[in-house]
């Protein structure tokens, strides 16, 4: 089972980037003396950063975000300049939590937090149906403690 995060999130991120750039521009207009060389430079830099974010980095970042659920593990990959793959072994999962942020009801998205002793893995911004299906799929059917015990010497797993 594999999938991506909700497409709506790309639009949300781009809106946030535009709003953040707008706020920065307002701050610059208020703080720096108008029509000086550094006033122009700062505004140009903000504009360039916005274009870079909206047309290159965010779409690429969105493309890089995907998850993979197998019999043995759950993997989530993301990143453009630093590519990161995070893998949680299914036998170490203690429980799974479904999270709903303030925008989630409007966007119909949910995030899943997969909890294990000593580490968590977040699958963020999943379409609601996918999140619920994943919740059923990932929730451990057997107590995780079984998988944590090992018999001495041979390192054989119980369960």
């Amino acid at each position: 089972m594999e999938g991506r995060i909700s497409k709506k999130m790309l639009a949300v991120w781009e809106c946030i980037a535009v709003l953040a750039a707008g706020a920065l521009v307002m701050l610059i207009l208020w703080l720096l003396p108008a029509r000086t060389w550094y006033w122009y430079l700062t505004l140009w830099l903000i504009g360039l950063a916005l274009v870079f974010c909206c047309f290159l980095w965010l779409p690429l970042y969105y493309e890089s975000c995907h998850y993979l659920v197998t019999e043995e593990y759950i993997e989530y990959s993301r990143g453009v300049f630093f590519f990161v793959r995070t893998r949680v072994l299914r036998r170490s999962i203690m429980y799974v939590t479904i999270l709903r942020g303030p925008l989630a009801p409007f966007l119909r998205i949910r995030s899943l937090m997969i909890c294990s002793m000593g580490a968590n893995l977040m699958l963020p911004f999943l379409p609601i149906r996918e999140a619920e299906a994943l919740l059923k799929e990932i929730t451990p059917k057997r107590p995780a403690i079984k998988g944590r015990l090992f018999s001495a010497g041979r390192g054989k797993r119980n369960g």
């Binding site: 197998t70 043995e72 593990y73 300049f81 630093f82 590519f83 990161v84 793959r85 995070t86 893998r87 949680v88 072994l89 036998r91 170490s92 294990s116 002793m117 000593g118 580490a119 968590n120 893995l121 998988g147 944590r148 015990l149 090992f150 001495a152 010497g153 041979r154 390192g155 054989k156 797993r157």
Partner: protein
């Protein structure tokens, strides 16, 4: 179900002993100064006496409200005056049981017992009781005897003991002593002395220490002598604390129970469930690595959790001793040689950071010397002082290239990693791995390597970072781990 029992009555004052002592000593001092005239004394110090009585009263209430019962499969504990807590802990869920015997409780035959599971607070024990010695051992027996009676390997029984020489404990204290710990201890000692015995005594203490420093500082500027004294004194105190806390170390393996005894002034006995040991770490510095020595620590909830405690298993061992002693007391953990390691082409990724730092610092100080010619002597001094750790880091990084990697032996994984100036060898069962993260930067992608971050089972978040493993080996590692 067994009868509910209470803690030893000393628990009434033990929890607040510090505050009671802070109130009681000044009160007694003022009583002595007044020549034993109780009425005059009580009319002047009535408020302090009231506070003392209320502290003791609260202690009595707490003592009355804290009860426990040893049941067939677990312990039931109830505590709290205003907020009552009742918890039942099955013995099979215990990670460790700790019996603490401070010297001042020994005449009363009273001990403090702490029970720990893998869950609960990361700072406090899940259960902490002050009990008579016999009661405490009854609890330990109920909780850990089934573990001790289980065979280490099918068909094998018997008790195996490891006791290091005192010299090894001294080496461990030498490696782990921290100046800051000692300085903090000294500062607390001086301020608490002032509170208990009065400001005059505190002044005498500080004056005596200053005189000692002046006496030792012959032909050295007073400020430099004071700094040196603080650093050396702090380190010396930390060394001494570590030494007395870990002298008498003894580890005994019986079945699936590992019992560790340490300490002289405060004797501690740890009973650990071997199955709950999350990982073993061999810690080395560049020097100890060159001499082939290291200290082995284990991570098990409850062991090394309290202040001034180290989760040590083998205080100082060389490579051969490590394998031999591990076979003796923890045969489940077997160190293996590196199977996955950084390829030769990425040695530059190890050398660039320290070389860059050395060159950067040199360029910076040369520029400073050029701009401020009058301060050249001082700049030269600071340049040398800051280049030393950078050059040392270069040596560490060269050694790191030959150290980092991953070894696999059946289901036991060995991760060789470095952090700052230290070298770590972490051994764990693959079921103790909670999460694996593969991180690849743009430059690492070009060099065909990646970093692996392994998050282990532990009460607090803990991870191991293995740098610059070849990309194809990372894939192979992930494939084997998933099996």
């Amino acid at each position: 179900m067994d009868e509910f029992q209470r803690q030893h009555p000393l628990a009434i004052v033990h929890a607040f002993s510090k505050y009671i002592l802070l109130l009681l000593l000044p009160l007694l001092r003022s009583l002595l100064l007044l020549g034993g005239n109780i009425w005059v004394w009580a009319s002047g110090a009535w408020f302090d006496i009231l506070i003392l009585i209320s502290v003791v009263g609260f202690g009595i209430l707490q003592w009355l409200c804290t009860t426990y019962a040893l049941q067939n499969r677990g312990i039931y504990v109830e505590s709290g005056v205003l907020f009552n807590e009742a918890r039942y802990i099955p013995y099979s869920n215990l990670s460790s049981a700790v019996v603490e015997k401070p010297f001042y409780l020994m005449p009363f035959r009273v001990v403090r017992i702490r029970l720990e599971t893998d869950s609960g607070s990361t700072k406090r024990a899940d259960v902490s009781l002050l009990l008579r010695e016999s009661q405490a051992y009854q609890l330990v027996e109920r909780g850990t005897t089934p573990l001790a009676e289980a065979p280490v390997r099918p068909g094998s029984r018997g008790i195996r003991t490891y006791q290091p020489r005192a010299l090894y404990i001294a080496i461990l204290s030498l490696i782990t002593s921290n100046t800051l710990t000692g300085v903090l201890f000294l500062a607390t000692f001086i301020s608490q002395t002032g509170k208990v015995l009065g400001e005059q005594f505190e002044a005498i203490l500080v004056h005596s220490l200053t005189r000692i420093v002046r006496f030792l500082a012959i032909q050295v500027p007073p400020a430099a002598a004071m700094v040196a004294a603080i650093i050396l004194g702090g380190w010396g105190i930390a060394f001494f604390i570590n030494l007395i806390n870990h002298l008498g170390f003894q580890a005994t393996r019986s079945g699936k129970r590992l019992a560790i005894r340490v300490g002289i002034l405060v004797r501690k006995e740890y009973y650990l469930a071997v199955e709950r040991i999350n990982f073993l770490t061999l810690r080395q510095s560049l020097l100890t690595k060159l001499f082939g020595f290291g200290s082995a620590f284990i991570n098990c909830t409850g062991y090394g959790k309290e202040k001034n405690e180290l989760s040590v298993l083998l205080p100082a061992v060389d490579k051969r001793d490590l394998k031999r002693n591990l076979r003796l007391i923890l045969p489940e953990m077997r160190v293996s040689e590196r199977r996955y390691k950084p390829p030769k082409r990425v040695i530059t990724r190890f050398l660039i950071p320290p070389c860059g730092t050395i060159v950067g610092l040199l360029a910076g100080f040369l520029l400073l010397g050029y701009l401020l010619p009058s301060l050249r002597g001082l700049i030269l001094y600071f340049a040398i002082m800051s280049e030393i750790p950078a050059v040392w880091w270069l040596f560490v990084k060269i050694a790191a290239f030959f150290h980092v990697g991953i070894g696999i032996r059946e289901d036991i994984y060995t991760f060789n990693s470095t952090f700052a100036y230290a070298f770590f060898t972490t051994v764990l069962h693959k079921d103790k791995i909670a999460k694996v993260e593969v991180r690849q930067s743009f430059f690492q992608k070009m060099a065909g390597c990646a970093d692996i971050r392994v998050f282990t089972f532990a009460e607090t978040r803990h991870h191991i970072r293995v740098h610059n493993i070849a990309a194809d080996q990372v894939e192979e590692f992930l494939r084997i781990l998933g099996k």
